[in-house]
Amino acid sequence: MGYKKIFNVALGLTLMVTGVGASCVFASNPPPEGETGSVAVRLFLTEGAVPADDPNAAVWNTIEPAEFKLAPQVHWPDRIQEVTVKSVKVRGVHNGEDMAILLEYADPSEDAADAAAVEFMVGDKMAHFAHGQEMLQIEGGDVNIWYWKKEHGKATDMTAKGFKTLRPQENQDVSATGAWQDGTWRVVFSRSLQTGDALDVQVTPGEWRNVAFAFWDGEIVDGDVKEKGSQKAISSWWYLRAEPPPDNSIYGYVVLGIVLAAGFEFFLVRKIRRGNES
């Protein structure tokens, strides 16, 4: 065998072993899973209309929920130490145009002041989960809040960037419907994935968004509403993603990879054989 050819063979083998070895090593070190509970809401891709105003639509029961624990809001005054809603189950669907998100949570009584909200970061700047409040070392962005209250019977599409800046938007794009039964609220929020409004979260299938939740128990205790304003059950940021449509081009690349690898083997063997003959 000529040295050059042998060197080529050696190089080919090294690359082969290194590549396969590296793949196996990195495949055996998956990224760590989140702590207890879910870390993300998945909006499943469906065909046809999304159940935009029906919290009890049959399709919801076919979807595996994400579950998030909630804490009393102790981050800023007025605080609260004990809240009614302890956790929320979240389900979501989209059809490429519209999305619907169902929040399901336990609340023993149905009250006029019961309320629920979903919060999103808007745009590229990171925003603090507490109404996009000011951060000292980095410039934050806006948050988009979808707010539903039983007595209003509809959603309010809102914007905030810092405390006391929460305000309804000019363009109201969100709708919401709630249904209470046997100690459980089911509230469905819906909107189109894209609105073209710079104050709204724009949901692009395949891309991750930051999402947080808040709930108020509007029960009247001693003549006053139990949870209102900043006294609420909250989560900090979690993730949300609309499922992208299946991408079949992957299989093309897989076939290409197999063909290239087989071709490499063929030429390698031919090269060695010719080297042996010469």
Partner: protein, 241 residues
């Protein structure tokens, strides 16, 4: 099994056994990626050694060439050869798929838990003496303002801790306040989560910015109460020298 190829194989297996099983007896286990790097270096060294002269190269590559071309092979070696030729393209295909398949995992979070404090919070000493009265007052303030999240037992398991991501710090863990100076805690309590630099992801932290609600004196006393209650001591300058 005297050929250079066999020697290389034995060397690699020996290296792997040493790095994976013997070395951890004396020190921390090595990450898989580092073991792989060492093995790759070992293999590369063997390659360099055997490609230095024509003779040794022939000796080294001979069995590989014979295996790949199938010359003079029968039985198990022949079957193994076919197996390698079929499996290698399939492996490449599988790797292509796993690399391109869309991931359902959210973005990885490389959050720095204890980022560097701003200059003005480095090396401040607690201006209040460590008297039983001050410690007692600090513990009282801790119970009122901090324990809902950080827990009455200083373990990060307060009733309000459960909903937050990241979770509140556990002060009884030797990896938290025991590794930090009092001035660091002063910064973290005073400026809260929103005072963190970008690498610590301030947008996720539920830690209040206590400077808007509590006087500095209370914060220093809370620090005292926290260390005492958690059974930890602050890291000091003397220890670092």
């Amino acid at each position: 099994m005297k050929g250079p190829l066999a020697k290389t194989a034995i060397l690699l297996v020996g290296m792997y056994v040493f790095l994976k099983f013997i070395l951890p007896l004396f020190t921390a286990p090595l990450p898989a990626s580092l073991i792989f790097l060492y093995l790759a270096l070992t293999f590369a060294s063997a390659m360099i050694f055997y490609t230095m002269s024509g003779g040794s190269l022939d000796e080294f590559m001979g069995p590989v060439g014979r295996f790949l071309t199938g010359s003079g092979q029968a039985g198990i070696a022949g079957t193994a050869r076919i197996l390698v030729f079929v499996l290698f393209p399939l492996l490449v295909g599988w790797q292509t798929y796993t690399r391109l398949a869309p991931s359902d995992l959210p973005p990885a979070e490389n959050r720095t838990i204890h980022p560097a404090p701003p200059g003005e919070f480095v090396g401040l000493a607690n201006p209040y003496p460590r008297t039983p009265e001050n410690i007692m007052m600090g513990k009282g303030l801790y119970a009122a303002f901090c324990s809902p999240c950080h827990g009455a037992n200083f373990d990060g398991k307060g009733p309000a801790a459960v909903g937050f991501n990241p979770p509140p710090a556990n002060f009884s863990d030797p990896g938290t306040i025991a590794q930090l100076q009092e001035s660091y805690l002063f910064w973290r309590i005073k400026k809260g989560g929103v005072g963190l630099p970008v690498e610590a992801m301030p947008w996720k932290s539920a830690m209040p910015r206590w400077e808007v609600e509590l006087p500095d004196e209370w914060i220093w006393k809370i620090i005292m109460g926290e260390y005492d209650g958690a059974g930890q001591s602050p890291r000091t300058w003397e220890e670092e020298e």
